[in-house]
Symmetry: C2
């Protein structure tokens, strides 16, 4: 489904030929960016007229890595196309359209950049660079459904931040882009970097602290295969509700046990040991047990994944997607089919499976048109 | 100081020429091992008449690695000399003498192998191998003071377990030896493997679980220097008391923060990043803050270490030793001197410093006499 965002005097739209249905919006959606002192001593000029960027899905938490560990998943994600647009007020960003195969996702997304993840992150980058003389418009292609536990909001924010930085000649660092993405995450789903950091950096990322932001990329060895089996049921698991069930306090013994599993998980990533990674990912004794009863069939889905030979299985992000890991695509398909069956039989939920590799790149430019 | 353990009809003692003072004991100290079914289908014969073994000091906890992470320290430790002794009842182990430069340590140690770490571990190995036909005696040289937070009990147990296994031709695995050492640790200082595992294996070891025992050696890259500055004050910090002050529950936010620091610590070890290792080791927000007020001057000692350029500083084990890390021996000496000064000025405690490298080997045979 395509949401065509109504814009006053927006010639960009006249060239737009949506392939899906069109849902016009009436809200005024061009927003002036809040100019704070720029990090740059001069305002850079655009080096391209158009940038198309992609940012991958991400799996946050990873069992005992709750709230500080995440990784990127290849093949699925969101795409942003950003244009220099003379019809948009200088220093402003407008969203011209939003496309999604998922009607619910499309309906929920705002064309107002102040309330759209891609818009918030894009505007944050504009503010950081200090863009006052140029107006821009973007289209957003949502490859990820909202509220699936696959870092949908982070993917939009990451793609937008990278595109905005790229169109002005890449003046900001990766860290700045993550900070821009964090602004969006904080507004939409909470001040957590475990989706936005891997969405931008790729691979596995450990969030050590927020004040100051301290991120550690954890390199899974090149040449070692790692596949994620992602099984998403038709079920809503709002992050707020999933957070509300978490214990406020953790017993010391459980704290030590989960800490050691999180430490083992990090060692598994760095050593490229998929089997250990799965086993550690499966062994969260705090968050997963609190959340699993809220997703119908999830306990059976986990059992089914392990019985089918998965190295491990847990809830992706705050759910409802279940994630299992393996080292072989074909095995992944078998595991995925069993998990889908378990969701249907035990949870009475329709679900779909996809098998994807670890994404080692993060948000990237897909294509560009130069100004020269 | 040397404790000469009185033994009925022990010819081994007649050859013993202690270099220190002698404190005879009157307790009967030869103990028959409790024979449980052996893991071996036959009883192996000794391949040596004498084995001298050494096991290094260990640092448990390492800040946020509380109760699941430990490492071995080169240059200081305990030494066991184990002999085939025809005057000891077959299937039994006797302790003939205990030497220590520290009078308090010597006085506290029992010559009864049932109540001595080296004895308990040695007897456990005998039981595992199924030794019934041979009697043995051992001497113990304590290089580590008791209750210092440097894994004194584990070093004795590790040296004894390795010597016993070696004298019978090494029939047991490293894992078996750690299980034997754990028997001793459980009796003396609690069922924790974070000292005994690195004392036997060397390097850094992550304890993932106890049921079943699951240990992960974490290799600090070869060729990268890592020095520990160990500053031990004259102060008793009984493990029981140090455990009693720990919180029973941990807030979720603090749990996540400590987990991420423990994960960063493991990444630092595997990546050979001393600076990150120190920073993670310094950032425990749960155990160290509870224990630091119980060791006079410890907060000032930590500040002094960091001000002197240490990468990080925390309490070694349950204390009272403070451990700082650096990448250079000379820097280590400067850091150590500042820490000693801080213990004196702020804690009114005399202290001594030693600078040691990471031990990458663990418990080892120092010398042997063959039966052939």
């Amino acid at each position: 489904m395509t949401t065509l965002c109504k814009q006053p005097h927006s010639p960009a739209l006249s060239n737009f030929n949506p392939s899906h249905s069109i849902l016009p919006r009436t809200r005024f959606i061009t927003v002036r960016c809040n100019h704070t002192p720029s990090q740059l001593s001069f305002e850079p000029s655009p080096v391209s007229t158009l940038i198309k960027s992609f940012a991958p899905a991400t799996i946050a938490n990873l069992g005992p890595g709750f709230d500080f560990l995440g990784c990127a998943v290849d093949g699925i994600g969101d795409t942003v196309t950003l244009r220099i647009d003379p019809m948009v007020h200088p220093g402003s960003l407008s969203i011209s359209s939003i496309h999604s195969a998922d009607i619910a996702t499309s309906k929920k997304l705002s064309c107002d950049p102040r309330w759209n993840c891609a818009g918030i992150a894009g505007m944050a980058v504009m503010r950081m660079i200090g863009i006052r003389s140029v107006g821009l418009s973007m289209t957003l292609e949502k490859g990820l459904p909202l509220g699936s536990g696959l870092g949908s909001s982070a993917a939009s924010a990451a793609a937008a931040a990278v595109a905005m930085n790229e169109i002005f000649g890449r003046p900001l660092s990766i860290r700045d882009l993550i900070l821009a993405g964090l602004e969006s995450e904080a507004k939409v789903s909470g001040h957590h970097a475990d989706n936005i950091a891997p969405a931008i950096m790729g691979g596995f990322v450990l969030v050590r602290s927020y004040e100051p932001l301290d991120l550690m990329p954890l390199q899974f060895p090149a040449g070692t295969e790692l596949f994620f089996v992602l099984v998403s049921p038709k079920f809503e698991a709002p992050t707020k509700k999933m957070r509300a069930v978490l214990p406020k306090e953790v017993g010391m013994k459980m704290h030590v046990a989960n800490c050691s599993q999180a430490a083992a998980l990090v060692a598994a990533v760095l050593q490229g040991d998929g089997r250990l990674l799965g086993s550690a990912l499966s062994s969260d004794g705090i968050v997963e047990p609190s959340r699993i009863p809220l997703i119908p069939g999830m306990a059976a889905v986990k059992r089914a994944a392990l019985e089918a030979g998965a190295f491990g299985c847990t809830i992706s992000g705050a759910g409802p997607t279940a994630v299992a890991v393996t080292d072989n695509e074909e095995k992944g398909r078998v595991i995925g089919a069993r998990m889908v069956k378990a969701f249907l039989e035990e949870g009475k939920l329709q679900a779909s499976a996809t098998i994807q590799r670890l994404d080692r790149v993060g948000a990237r430019v897909v294509s560009s048109s130069s100004t020269s």
